[in-house]
C-alpha cells in the first residue's frame, strides 16, 4: 500500500485551515492509512506549525531551509523531491499554490497527477477512483488514476469535510537533511495587497451580484439602480472583472472578497466554486439565470429561470413602488 502524504501550508506559525480537509481527503483514499503531514519552511514558525499537527497526523515531516522562508513553489518542489519516497501519494490543496506546485512535481517525481478533485471513491488495485467536475460544474466525471508509480492529487478547497474526533499523538521528524542546495530561476520579490475599492462589499447585508449574464458594461447600471432602491451594494463574479466592467474590489470569490451578507442576489452568475467560496455565513441566496442547468441553482434557496436583463428592471420598478421611491 502506497504511503500517503499531505502537503500542509502554514503562515506565521499557524497551519492553514485546509490541513483538516487534506487529512479528510487522505483518509478517503485509505481509511486505515497513517497519514504523514509534510511541511516546508524555516525557523520558529515552521516548528510551531509542525508541533500543532501532532494531535492529528501520525507523523509530521519537517523540511527546514532558509531559502524556504517564503513558499516559492519552484523551491518547494525541489525540496519535496528530495524527501518524498517514490511511489507515494501526495495530497495538495488546489489553490494558487497547488496549481503552481503540483503539475511540475508530478513530472519530476514520475507520478500521475489529477487536479481539482472533489470526490474520492478509494483504491481498486493500481487505480485510485476519483470524481471531478467539468464545464464550470455543469457535469461531473469519474476518473481513474494509475497510482503504480505514485500520484499527486490536488483537492478542491472546501470539497472534503474535516472529520471530527481524530486524535493521535504523532511525532515530528526532521527531514531537512534530504535537501541540499536549493536554487531557482524564479525569485519571489514581494506581495502587493489589493487596494480597497470605493465600496466595501464585505460590510453590506444585501448584495446585488452580477455575472456574465449582464452581457455588457452598459447593463451594469440596471444592477446599480436596483441596489440603490434596496440600499444594497453591487458585487460581481470574475467574468465581470475580467471584462473590466467593474473594479476588482467588487469581485466575490477565492481570488476576490469574502462576503457575509444576509441576502445574496445572484444575477446571471453560473455558480463556479471559486465564486461560491467567497460567500460565507449562509446567506439567503436568490439566483436568476437563463440556463436552468446553471450550478448556482444547486446551492440557491430560490431560483428563477429568466433573463436578468428583462427581470431586473421589473424587480427595480416593483421595489420602487414598495418603498415609495419615484423613478429618477
Amino acid at each position: 500500500m502506497a504511503r500517503i502524504f499531505a502537503y500542509i501550508v502554514h503562515r506565521g506559525g499557524v497551519v492553514d485551515d485546509s490541513a483538516a480537509e487534506l487529512l479528510a481527503a487522505a483518509k478517503k483514499i485509505d481509511r486505515t492509512a497513517s497519514v504523514t503531514a509534510i511541511l516546508t519552511g524555516w525557523g520558529a514558525d515552521l516548528d510551531a506549525a509542525c508541533d500543532s499537527l501532532r494531535s492529528s497526523f501520525g507523523e509530521t515531516w519537517k523540511i527546514a531551509n532558509e531559502t524556504l522562508s517564503y513558499p516559492n513553489a519552484e523551491l518547494v518542489r525541489q525540496a519535496l523531491l528530495g524527501a518524498l519516497p517514490a511511489g507515494s501519494i501526495l495530497v495538495v490543496l488546489h489553490d494558487h499554490f497547488g496549481i503552481d506546485l503540483s503539475p511540475g512535481l508530478s513530472i519530476k517525481w514520475n507520478a500521475a497527477f489529477v487536479s481539482d478533485v472533489m470526490g474520492i471513491e478509494g483504491i481498486d488495485g493500481n487505480s485510485l477512483n476519483l470524481v471531478r467536475q467539468e464545464f464550470g460544474g455543469q457535469v461531473s466525471t469519474h476518473v481513474r488514476c494509475d497510482i503504480s508509480s505514485g500520484a499527486v492529487i490536488n483537492i478542491r478547497p472546501g470539497a472534503f469535510k474535516p472529520e471530527s474526533g481524530i486524535t493521535t499523538s504523532g511525532e515530528v521528524i526532521d527531514k531537512s537533511f534530504t535537501v541540499s542546495t536549493l536554487t531557482s530561476r524564479r525569485r519571489y520579490i514581494e506581495t502587493i495587497v489589493a487596494e480597497a475599492g470605493d465600496v466595501d462589499i464585505t460590510k453590506h447585508s444585501v448584495l446585488v451580484s452580477i455575472g456574465r449574464g449582464i452581457q455588457e458594461k452598459e447593463n451594469v447600471s440596471i444592477a446599480e439602480e436596483l441596489a440603490e432602491v434596496l440600499g444594497a451594494a453591487v458585487s460581481c463574479s470574475r467574468p465581470v472583472v475580467d471584462a473590466k466592467w467593474m473594479e476588482k474590489s467588487r469581485q466575490v470569490g477565492s481570488s476576490g472578497k469574502t462576503v457575509k451578507p444576509k441576502v445574496y442576489l445572484a444575477f446571471g452568475i453560473s455558480g463556479a466554486f471559486q465564486h461560491l467560496a467567497g460567500i460565507k455565513g449562509n446567506p439567503f441566496l436568490i439566483a436568476v439565470n437563463k440556463n436552468p442547468k446553471a450550478p448556482i441553482f444547486q446551492v440557491a434557496d430560490i431560483g428563477i429561470v429568466d433573463d436578468i436583463l428583462e427581470f431586473v428592471p421589473v424587480l427595480t420598478e416593483k421595489a420602487r413602488e414598495l418603498r415609495g421611491v419615484s423613478a429618477k
Binding site: D100, F113, S115, F135, V206, V241, Q298, G303, F311
Partner: protein, 262 residues
C-alpha cells in the same frame, strides 16, 4: 522575443448548456458551439502585446485535429505570425501529461524564449503548462496577471488569494500560465478571418515532432475519464414558476423577510 502560445478549442460554456449523451461516455457535441478556450485567448493577446513592444514572433500551437484549425485561423487573424497543428491518430486519448509530452517535443524542435498557456480549460486540469515546464526544465509561474519584460528575464505578477498579487522575477526561457483578465483581447470579425484564409497552417504528426509514442495517447495515459454523470442534486433551489411580475413580488417579499430591507 520568440513566443509560443499553446491554445485549445473547447465547448463554449457561455454559449451552451452541456448535456451528457445516453451512454454517459461523453457530452453531446453535435449542437455545441466551440471557441478558443477563454484563458488561452488572453494568452494569445498577451503574446501579441509583448511582441509589439519588444519585437519578435508569436507562434500558436494546438494539439488536435482539422476541426481545431478554426481557432488557429482566428489567432492568425488576431495577429499571430504563424500557427501549427499537432495532429496524429496516436495522440487521441492523451491525458495532460501526454499533451505536455507532445508540446515538449515540438518546443525542442524550435527555439522559444517564452511559452504561454491559458491557466485552465473548462474541461481541463490547470496542468499542461506546469508539466511542460518540468519536462523542458524551464522555470514556471502560474496564474500570471501582468508581465513586464526585462533583460533576459520577466517581472511577473501572480494572482493569489483575496485579490493580492505575488511579484516574481523569472529567467527566460520560461513557461507561464495566463489568468483571465490580464488584458483586453482584441476582437476579430469574419472579415479578419477571411483575410488569413489562405495562410498555410502546417500539420505535424508524431514522427515529425519526434515524441515518444509510449508517452501519448490512450495507452500512455495514467489518468483516464471513465464516464460523465450529473450528480444527485442536493436540496437545490425552490424554482419560482410565476410570471415575471409575480416572481419579482415574491423576491421582494423574501428579501424583506430575510432582514434585507430596513
Amino acid at each position: 522575443m520568440e513566443i509560443l502560445v499553446c491554445a485549445r478549442r473547447v465547448p463554449d460554456t457561455s454559449e451552451n448548456e452541456i448535456e451528457i449523451n445516453a451512454a454517459g461516455s461523453d457530452i453531446e457535441r453535435d449542437e455545441v458551439v466551440y471557441s478558443i478556450n477563454e484563458a488561452d485567448n488572453y494568452a494569445v493577446e498577451e503574446a501579441l502585446q509583448i511582441r509589439d513592444r519588444v519585437g519578435g514572433n508569436v507562434t500558436v500551437v494546438t494539439v488536435g485535429n482539422e476541426d481545431d484549425e478554426e481557432i488557429l485561423r482566428r489567432q492568425l487573424a488576431m495577429g499571430a505570425n504563424q500557427a501549427v497543428l499537432l495532429s496524429d491518430d496516436s495522440f487521441s486519448g492523451s491525458d495532460g501529461r501526454g499533451i505536455a509530452a507532445i508540446l515538449a517535443a515540438f518546443v525542442q524542435k524550435g527555439h522559444y524564449d517564452l511559452i504561454l498557456t491559458g491557466v485552465q480549460a473548462d474541461d481541463g486540469g490547470a496542468q499542461v503548462g506546469g508539466m511542460l515546464a518540468a519536462m523542458l526544465d524551464y522555470p514556471f509561474a502560474s496564474l500570471a496577471n501582468s508581465i513586464q519584460v526585462g533583460e533576459g528575464k520577466l517581472r511577473v505578477s501572480r494572482e493569489i488569494e483575496s485579490g493580492n498579487r505575488e511579484i516574481n522575477e523569472i529567467d527566460l526561457p520560461c513557461v507561464l500560465s495566463i489568468q483571465t483578465g490580464i488584458n483586453e483581447p482584441r476582437y476579430v470579425g469574419m472579415r479578419g478571418i477571411r483575410q488569413v484564409a489562405s495562410v498555410p497552417i502546417p500539420a505535424l504528426g508524431a514522427a515529425d515532432v519526434g515524441v515518444d509514442q509510449t508517452a501519448v495517447g490512450d495507452a500512455g495515459a495514467r489518468v483516464k475519464r471513465v464516464d460523465y454523470f450529473v450528480p444527485a442534486l442536493s436540496k437545490g433551489a425552490q424554482i419560482l414558476h410565476g410570471s415575471r411580475e409575480e416572481n419579482a413580488d415574491q423576491v421582494l417579499e423574501l428579501v424583506a423577510a430575510k432582514g434585507g430591507l430596513k
